[in-house]
Symmetry: C2
Subunit: 329 residues, 2 copies
């Protein structure tokens, strides 16, 4: 019994967004139906290294497939400058739920970016205007690429506007996509008036103002992942159809955590969860809706669903390196 090792390139090459987006939608649905298990993330804080580790175990039963695993991920902001490593790394163990055999061990960093893009696409599919053609992105880091790749699966995106203080990052993003889209740099207000907006920054003071946002824009608020972080002005949240991925995680560390803890926003301001929408127990966008916001913190079930897709593809194509980790022969 061998374990398939998949590095970042293998993960990227085997994570077709065409399969990944529905798999993540299946995961949200399974979670909503109660067919998933996702213990709270466990944190290990290492102030001496200005970093932390998080373990994210999950199981989900999507009906035609099920999957289990754990992602071990971290945030080490000093990594780029001190060591030349990314701030966020990650390792995913993907296991057979029936036998617990570790079917695959894969790069969790690439997986995180891909499943985060896929989550935005699921929300966009249900919450953006049906004829959306423009996508704005605030933040031109690693996450911006998978936002575009994924959202283009669910809407016919023609125009992409990107905003980032770092001009080099913007140029790199534009160069990557200029053959496929009408892509250009723009101000926050140009970006935020697109049909779909994704924010993927780690800021602690909102950078998108209420007036920036288009009347019917759907916003994927992807950046906030810790207490104190938020990207959108409170009034955007208060005026929107506000959808979350998970109540505990979003009130603790999602886009809504700051106004929530300040009492600016409460339960009544939350329309529902993405799981309720994908299972049909609550409506997605209706003609009456203006702005919609998806507050995404990232769920362990997304990782497990994405790992499932990657493993199935890689096995089929014969990618990766098979290693006898258990020695059970």
């Amino acid at each position: 019994m061998e374990t398939l090792l998949l590095n970042g390139t293998d993960v990227r090459e085997n994570a077709s967004m065409t399969d990944l987006v529905p798999a993540v939608e299946d995961a949200f649905a399974a979670f909503e139906r109660g067919d998933a298990q996702m213990p709270p993330k466990s944190y290990i804080d290492l102030p001496e290294y200005n970093g932390d580790f998080r373990s994210m175990p999950a199981y989900l039963d999507a009906g035609t497939w099920d999957a289990a695993g754990v992602k071990w991920v971290n945030v080490h902001p000093d990594n780029p400058e001190k060591f030349g490593f990314p701030t966020v790394l990650g390792t995913m163990i993907y296991s057979d739920p029936e036998t617990a055999v570790p079917l695959s061990i894969m790069d969790g960093r690439e997986l995180t970016m891909l499943r985060t893009g896929a989550a935005a696409a699921v929300a966009t599919d249900h919450l953006a205007v049906p004829d959306a053609t423009s996508l704005g992105i605030v933040g031109a880091g690693a996450q911006s690429y998978t936002q575009l790749r994924a959202i283009a699966e669910v809407r016919d995106i023609e125009t992409v506007v990107i905003s980032d203080l770092d001009e080099e990052r913007v140029a790199k993003f534009v160069a990557e996509f200029e053959g496929e889209y009408d892509v250009r740099a723009g101000s926050i207000s140009e970006v935020a008036s697109c049909d779909v907006l994704s924010t993927v920054t780690p800021v602690e003071s909102p950078i998108v103002a209420r007036d920036d946002v288009g009347a019917h824009t759907h916003v994927n608020a992807m950046g906030a992942d810790a207490t104190g972080k938020h990207e959108l002005a409170d009034q955007i949240l208060l005026d929107s159809k506000l959808v979350i991925d998970d109540y505990e995680q979003t009130t603790h560390s999602g886009e809504i955590n700051v106004p929530w803890s300040e009492g600016v926003l409460d339960d009544d301001d939350i329309y529902g969860s993405v799981g309720q929408i994908v299972t049909g127990s609550k409506d997605g966008r209706t003609d009456a809706d203006g702005i919609s916001v998806f507050d995404s913190t990232g769920l362990a079930i997304q990782d497990v669903a994405a790992a499932h897709v990657v493993y199935e593809h890689a096995t089929e194509k014969g990618n990766g390196y098979a290693f006898d980790l258990l020695g059970l022969a």
Copy 2:
């Protein structure tokens, strides 16, 4: 930056008990001093497969070294009969705390057996009579081997008596060790009257009676790892110097969990933790002591400490297979 893959054989060959026992002692001490982080184990129960997964993340700072990681482990009792796999498998991700780079991924099954043996040895070192020469073991499964290997590091064991209903297992154990020790099969009372007794069975009704145990025997109760399991008669616990590894874990799923939940045993019956003993804040065995018992449930810090030893040895010897999991080159 490559990740060192170590299979079961690699783990075994690089886990010298001479280094492992003090490393696990260091881990208990770090935990007691507050220099370790160990969030509660997260469980995923899969009744449809009669199994479960547990994630066990930890960090510890032993002073001269520190270590972080997560073990992903399971209990699938149908594995042997249905699939020819062991009931318990496991995978360990061992990470650099400073950068979060996964330094090594190793077989967690072998690691579990080794660190469990090492924990028994640490307790035995502090709680058995100094001139102990006989070791009794109840249960001749995989854990029995590492009990003997580890305990022989801290006492001059000459005689080993083993008891198990499965004669084939007993014969295999005897064959393994007969060149090194005076080793033989024996009844429970013969086994339990040795200077040191280790119990490594998954039973739910005690199999060692009060009268079986020698007047000064030190007992390592290693088998109980879930609510409802216990191996020793309540009276043994009540009459002993009772030492635990962790209060939450032992009262929930350790040897003491059944009498605890029934109110037969309470806080006053617990002498202290192994961490208190190794740091010197409480005495180990004194001349006044009769029976002593160590209730071991197994802590994530033991895994991290053991992984540290294995990784350091394997790196030094050039063992294992280096794989570019991150692709950061």
